[in-house]
Symmetry: C2
Subunit: 784 residues, 2 copies
């Protein structure tokens, strides 16, 4: 990776890499895991936290034409069920429940060139090609497929900001490469606001487009180089002829005498494509390299020239593989092949985002739509409602060098946001306002308390409190006025109240650790607002209007769209008080009643019609929905009621039924690594139920041994003695040789290095972790 | 002008201003001259070479809906014939024959607010208002009108990069201000690619739009501040509801649970308007100030805050007036009121463009679409086919401080152009490829030879020769191959050949002055290519195909659209060999024949059906079309045949019949000052027939006295003794007291300072200037 600059996102890792570790860990990564079902991962090439995700798209269903389910299925462009590929595009989300991107599709072909993708039902109607999983492979930083309709072998690899294609053509007089600037994921008519392409010389193109989608007016610039000159090139503009040649708008009106400079090879419009012809393309593999920038065309070219000055595909591939090896070595896992495949694929998926969003010269597109230059590594893609739960806590362990700049990126977002608010769900210079809460505060508080520095704590706390007091965001003024969000003010009012309350706890903890007692006290008080949406009669979280009346249409199971709950029902959300589980247990009627409710959650069937308005609610065990985030912490809550053994059983149940190493092995959207982070923590034997309280609740390890290689040079090894199909209960735990009686770990226990040894057994140890003192402590101190 | 920075375009002038000159010259400027007929000037507020032109638009006819003539009439947004005003927008061309701009329309109103402009036929159908020229005034840097439908007095003034509005409302409960981002000049459906507006606080908006038009994908950013908080604001998005709230694209699909952050006041789309309400608006005048940038929103705000930090409308107005006074003082003219009104209005129109296109921080949008930062003042709007003739030569006399940076701006264009070519007809970061030739070379050569430095001559010559040898521009390869542009290769082939040949002469002269003899020789040879399109039989310039055959459909009078001539006919273009008039006279058959042809040009009627395909061919005297550039030099050519007295008569004839001080006083488009520059030179008594040969051909002064205040501190005074209605012939000329026998001046004669005294008479002096040695010498040396 010799071309990396000071801006490289890899620099931090290189300092701490361990070149002596021998095993090729990338062999255990199967990028196809999650590409089936609704995992929404992509199989293409990417480097850790890379800006470019170069991957095949198997279809691009149109909004308003195709059913929503067809669109949802292909949030990552590719779906394992599909049998055709439309081409290879350069940007993809990993695991999201909403979609966008798919920038700059390239497709090679033989025979009569086609410029429309055609349909999956009739692949010959367009440029798409059939393919077979039998002649397809993927590994970290590399993807290959045989395009059977053309007998072209297509390979992909990437650097952080560039993608490289290698197309091996069969013997033929002519081959073509189509570049389709109209292609996109989450496509719809008029998605492309404007695009252009210019032929710089006979092997170089510069292109750009600005598109709407989830993000509005999202720009992307491309520098494209071919390894050999094209023999002909056609710029196709399918727009109104008015746009075919700029500067000649009036020719038809007889207005003025501009000569059309048709010799200047450039076109711009809403439907631009390029068709390049290569004679005898089989003589040598055709290479295409693409530099990408969100800033401008010159940066795209600079990114390309800086990161990928050569034409050595195999070197790019091996560099990408080496980068992944370095990352994966942060966790050394033992286990059977299926376990290691799941584990390292989860780690691979966890280390993709927040992703780089910055050019080699330090410039990036800010959320204000302006170009900024940062002396830190700038990241984008904050799916915070998902990732604050386990992904960001995981990164504090396996990638802590990157955490400060992820936070600096969030603080830059705050500064640049016209609304002076931390990111909610942002990507590519845009705040989507998707999902609820202000969970950036959790990520920051968690990192700060764990001793991660490299960002300004005071500035961060100011941004956190300003966000939590924002006068315009969602329903904060009403939340402050009523102590809860009234359901007549805003939908999802109960979920919002509960998540605000947790976020307030996270702010209080950071303030406390900084000696800001007044702020801590005020937010600890707010953190108790969760109580205001718990109906004492039903003991469930329940919608409430601004007059204090409880929701008359209350249904504990119904996950109504724009009802009081967010992608969930009351049953699930009634367990969402991660910062005061003790208080929640009280309200639920004590340990036994709480455990009974937990068991009911995992056993009471959830009828499909109760959740029909939410495709995200998936991976069900009773009411528990492993496929969506509101459930992720719940299996660990038995611990808080003194019954860790029941958590242990649930973890194994979830692992056995909702996770495997096939393409459909994810129970729901990976959600930018959150589902993977759940897997990694849970497989190790503990989980951050309450980010910001410095503890991890102990579950049950699923691998015989996992070693965390910490950034301080220490190692924290987790050993599960006697682990087997039947031995999923924890008989006892010791930390560094001393028995551990509490059912949780402190972050400092991990960072000190050492060994956590589980004795696994086929029968539960119901005494361990039962004592009040042994239970996880997280709660808002205000109550005490 | 205390806020001006080092980037200020006014800095140079302030150094050379003459504060002791007493007469208020701005009183003689009537911005309404040229707003009638097809002058295409605007009456609004602008500072010299300013980036903002804040002016009323009287209609915005739509392409495809309104007749082309209605669009053509309103290239500058305003037409004197109109009786309604739709609002005030911030950017305007002055005098162009094609249109665009009209960015950010603002309109105040009383009564029920309206959001559509309505029609001129039924003004009450929309927000437009009737107005009367009786209650309207304009002066340099200031415009005022009573909007009679609303009884609102609207005033406008500007700084270089900002506009300021002052609206005085009648007594009323509520007033409204509409901001219409859909408005534009040269409007058509989907002209606006995308726009957005954000409410920053209760008196500040930030907006942007990207539009197509003559320039494609042209961005403009606006920072808008009101002098008092609005009492309510409505963001109107007339697009598909899909765009009404970003981030909630899927609500209708029930896709995910994003809460719409309707409290964040922002909208984006293709049809965005803002309606601000002000209660009791009559209590004090409502001021609005707008900062404009082509770079980004933060620059728009920085431009506003830097140039216009206060709310003192009258100070802005007086500063603008002072800036104009400083400029106008470069020429001291005596004459009657009508003459002075025409003269100073011409000077006012000549000093508007090339206009500033750069933010206070030095950044500007380059022709590559990228943001660049310059340590020179960056200009845009190079209407070079028009302005190389007289406007740019004029600027070397009255604004030489700006010339180097105008050339540096052209060289930056060359560097940034993907095509590595000097500007042809460019504005706002876009090359329109409008008109023919590569006349930037004329501007540069003329300036260089006149001793103007401050740009890199070697770099300039490289750019000039590269442009003249460009492999893709128009028909240069064929021009080089055949020695002319064949009519079967490209339309307008004869005009292109003739203008290339002149441009080649200009390159040769610059090369010669730099000691580049080989280059000079090569281009002098090319400069003789004009001969290849002169048919020896007809002695007219005539189309010729690639086999050498002359155009069979030749019609000396026909100005066919996309025929062999550019906005002209063979009669006019057969006089276009400005660099070898002697050679032309030979071909035409000698002096007498040449003079006969000239007289025929001025007397032979040109039937309307011969020019019906060109609206630009206007201001006719016979075949002579004063309203368009190909004719501008022709009246002076009698001198070259030894008959200056006939030039003298023609100049007076043109002045008397084709110029006056009324709104319709221009015979055709002012063409960004070219027509005005013709007037100024001709009124002084000489004209640059051959830019780049260092001479001015003497005509006949039309004012009794004009003094040029030169940048070297010297003065060059032109006195026309005895000038009167009847005394329009030149009886004799003396320079600094010595008789001048030649009928031309050298540039150095002017720069040395002194007095040029004409003795005017009612009868011609046919001997003066008749001798061969007395005639203008310009010719390509290659022939000799």
């Amino acid at each position: 990776m010799g071309m990396l600059t000071k801006w490289s996102l890899l620099a931090g890792v290189m300092l701490t890499s361990s070149p002596l570790y021998a095993e090729d860990l990338t062999q255990w990564v199967d990028p196809f895991i999650g590409t089936g079902g609704d995992g929404h991962t992509f199989p293409g090439a990417v480097v850790p936290f890379g800006m470019v995700q170069l991957s095949p798209d198997t279809d691009n269903p149109m909004r308003g034409v195709s059913p929503q389910s067809e669109i949802y299925k292909r949030c990552a462009g590719y779906h394992y069920d599909d049998s055709t590929i439309v081409g290879f595009s350069h940007t993809h989300f990993s695991g999201t429940g909403h979609s966008d991107l798919g920038d700059l599709l390239i497709m090679p072909m033989t025979g009569t060139p086609k410029t429309e993708p055609g349909t999956a039902a009739d692949p010959d109607s367009g440029y798409r090609s059939r393919f077979s999983h039998d002649d397809e492979e993927a590994s970290p930083g590399y993807y290959r497929v045989k395009l059977t309709d053309y007998q072209i072998d297509a390979e992909l690899t990437t650097t952080a900001r560039t993608g490289m294609h290698r197309y091996s053509f069969p013997e033929t007089d002519q081959g073509h490469v189509l570049i389709d600037l109209t292609h996109g994921i989450y496509n719809f008519a008029n998605k492309v606001i404007w695009s252009d392409v210019r032929v710089v010389d006979n092997s170089t193109l510069i292109a750009s487009r600005r598109s709407n989608g989830w993000a509005h007016e999202r720009p992307m610039y491309f520098a494209i180089k071919f390894s050999r000159p094209f023999d002909d090139i056609e710029l196709i503009n399918e727009d109104n002829a008015r746009y075919r040649c700029m500067g000649c708008l009036d020719n038809k009106n007889g207005k003025h005498s501009t000569i059309v400079n048709s010799r200047i090879p450039f076109t711009a419009g809403k439907a631009v494509k390029v068709l390049a012809r290569f004679d005898n393309p089989h003589q040598a593999p055709l290479l295409i390299k693409v530099g990408v920038s969100a800033v401008d065309k010159s940066n795209a070219l600079e990114n390309l020239n800086s990161e990928l000055p050569h034409w050595d595909f195999d070197k790019v591939r091996s560099d990408a593989k080496a980068a992944w090896q370095t990352e994966l070595e942060r966790m050394e896992a033992k286990g059977d092949k299926s376990q290691k495949r799941q584990f390292y694929t989860a780690l691979y998926h966890a280390l993709q985002a927040p992703s780089l969003y910055q050019d080699v010269n330090g410039e990036y597109l800010g959320v204000d739509g302006e170009i900024h230059k940062a002396d830190f590594t700038h990241y984008t893609l904050f799916s915070l409602w998902d990732t604050y739960r386990a992904l960001h806590p995981l990164l504090t362990l396996v990638s802590p060098e990157r955490v400060p700049d992820m936070i600096n990126s969030m603080l830059a977002h705050y500064d640049q946001s016209y609304d002076r608010i931390l990111p909610i769900w942002s990507f590519h210079g845009h705040e989507t306002w998707t999902m609820i809460g202000y969970h950036a505060v959790s990520v920051i508080s968690d990192a700060w308390q764990k001793g991660i520095r490299g960002f300004d704590g005071k500035r961060a706390l100011d941004a956190m409190t300003a966000t939590a007091n924002h006068p315009n965001y969602d329903a904060i003024p009403e939340y402050l006025k009523y102590g809860y969000v009234p359901m007549d003010v805003l939908p999802e009012s109960v979920s919002i109240t509960l998540e605000y309350a947790y976020d307030d706890f996270a702010i209080a903890r950071m303030a406390e650790s900084m000696g800001e007692a007044d702020i801590a006290k005020a937010f600890d008080k707010r953190a108790q607002n969760w109580r205001n949406v718990f109906d004492p009669e039903t003991k469930f979280a329940r919608g409430r209007d601004s007059k204090g009346n409880w929701d008359k249409d209350f249904d504990v199971e119904e996950a109504k769209y724009m009802g009081p709950f967010t992608e969930g029902n009351s049953f699930q959300y009634s367990f969402y008080v991660p910062h005061d589980v003790a208080g929640l247990i009280d309200i639920k009627g004590g340990d036994a009643a709480f455990i009974e409710r937990l068991d009911e959650l995992f056993t009471r069937p959830l009828h499909a019609d109760k959740i029909k308005e939410h495709e995200d609610i998936a991976g069900l065990i009773g009411q528990y929905a492993h496929g969506n985030e509101p459930s992720h912490h719940i299996a660990y809550l038995y611990n808080h009621a003194g019954a860790p053994w029941m958590t242990q059983a649930r973890i194994r149940q979830i692992m056995d039924t909702l996770s495997n190493d096939t393409p459909s092995g994810l129970a729901g959207n990976d959600d930018v690594g959150q589902m993977s982070a759940w897997y990694l923590f849970s497989a190790m034997g503990f989980y951050p139920v309450t980010p910001g309280d410095m503890t991890y609740v102990i579950g049950a390890p699923q691998l015989p041994e996992v070693t965390l290689k910490l950034s301080n040079g220490k190692r924290f090894k987790v050993i599960a003695k006697g682990l087997s199909k039947d031995n999923f209960y924890v008989a006892g735990v010791s930390l560094n040789g001393k028995p551990l009686s509490q059912s949780y770990l402190h972050h400092n226990d991990i960072m000190a290095g050492g060994e956590l040894v589980f004795e696994m057994a086929a029968t539960p140890n119901k005494a361990w972790g039962k004592a009040i003192d042994a239970r996880p402590k997280a709660m808002s101190p205000y109550k005490n």
